[in-house]
Symmetry: C3
Subunit: 204 residues, 3 copies
């Protein structure tokens, strides 16, 4: 049961992240290849970078044709139904927050299967959650929105760190719902209230 | 015989791709290091990304001094003979199409030596063919031309997919000439006729 | 003794490189996440790319929490003391040259522990020294300064090449001070005199 729920969350996360990638591509007037590339990189890139850093080859997100197909379907949906999809952007942003919450937890857990330091595990969880978006932004010619915009990465940092802490105590799998919900809640509240991350105090 | 032909095609492909990288660098007024870096990344980057994703370390394109030297010579040629080289850009574009056709087939075959899904094999073949150009464009500060310009990636997708299909039937090596010629022909015709890949139907 | 000196140089190099990353982020008005990401990528990115290419997983710079902490502290310093830090930019540039000299030698030595060609060893040493800066620039939306600006990469190329040459003769460890000093001296002199690398002869 839990495994099925996890898989459903993973695949929805890939689909939604891939949609955000394809939408950015459409806004830049990229062609179908650009949409597909951005969909794959955004939906699968974060997990792929994590696996490359862990020495998992080929990365799960590249090896699994089901995941490649999921990202491709998201690109196809944006390609053929761009207007319908982009009208639903508020819904997509909520689903994107669900993806963020899923990936920061599952990415951290996947990393901690390997013999690594806790700090490395949390870092790889955050990379899983935000890495695809960073690649999407660089490839579409803008500086990564997670570096200067809304409160997006910090919920993932919180979720990944709490996941590492739970893992230290070897808890039951179901407990990992908490870091995911914490990340999700923090992201949704900050979307609602327009919170942003603090910048450097340049004129302190 | 076939091996010698393949090696000749591979090295010419690296040389021509590296030249296109160095030419982009020269157009941006990069110095000799910028030209060399772009030449290496464009000529060797696609294959290197494929090998990293497959767990081949170091990547063949990084391990082989002959390949490093080939990219270096291309950079040197552009550095010292920029005007002569850039006057021949139409010829370079045809040779670039030969490189594209070579790499989408050889990249797919190299990937399928590993135990991977057919879709993954085709994807890695396409990455081999277009990955270097994407890195070149990102590092020289423009959005990748394969995402919004001419019909460039689709011939590689066609060639890689047909290569995977042939491999399923374990055919003789010489048969792989067909996907390469198909990719080459498609690319040359689309250069001639100015075909471009379809974009998203934004106002459908 | 030598090991302690080497470790001290490595960690200072990471700290200073990370500071330059965070400073670029602050100049672009990135938030704390952007500063942290640029600090990590600049301080740890070059060595991480080298390790990925060598098949060392996870890369030492990602696996070691001490190194992650070092980059984090550099980001924190720039975040809370931006004005004090940026006023000392001339000092930082000198320390950055020390980091460059350290990394081109230690990166080459680390690479040559593996069974690779001399040219590959030198290339990986140069990537260790300048790779983080290239990633920093691409992620902050500018073309890499090492491609078109000052004489920065060439001292690293000289240091890495001399390190490879020394390794061929299996000399004592202390001899590696020479390539490092040569790289450092060349960089400092070129900073002083405003030397830049030669560009392509576009109108030859």
């Amino acid at each position: 049961m839990t495994d099925a729920v996890l898989a459903a969350l993973e695949f929805s996360g890939i689909f939604v992240f891939a949609m955000t990638g394809a939408l950015v591509g459409a806004r830049r007037d990229f062609d179908i290849i650009g949409l597909l590339a951005l969909a794959m990189l955004t939906g699968l890139g974060g997990g792929a970078i994590r696996d490359v850093l862990l020495g998992v080859a080929p990365p799960v997100n590249v090896a699994s044709w089901e995941r490649l197909l999921t990202a491709t379907l998201a690109a196809a949906l944006v390609f053929w139904q761009h207007d319908r999809v982009s009208r639903r952007e508020p819904v997509i942003m909520v689903l994107d927050a669900v993806g963020l919450a899923t990936f920061c937890v599952t990415g951290t857990i996947a990393a901690l299967q390997h013999d690594i330091a806790p700090a490395t595990g949390a870092l790889l969880g955050v990379i899983t959650a935000i890495g695809g978006g960073v690649v999407r932004d660089v490839l579409s010619g803008r500086t990564p929105v997670v570096f200067s915009g809304e409160l997006y990465a910090i919920p993932a940092v919180v979720g990944a760190t709490l996941t590492v802490a739970l893992q230290e105590f070897e808890p039951l799998g179901v407990l990992y719902v908490f870091p995911a919900l914490l990340c999700l809640g923090l992201r949704l509240v900050s979307m609602r209230r327009g919170w942003s991350a603090p910048g450097a105090r340049r004129r302190a």
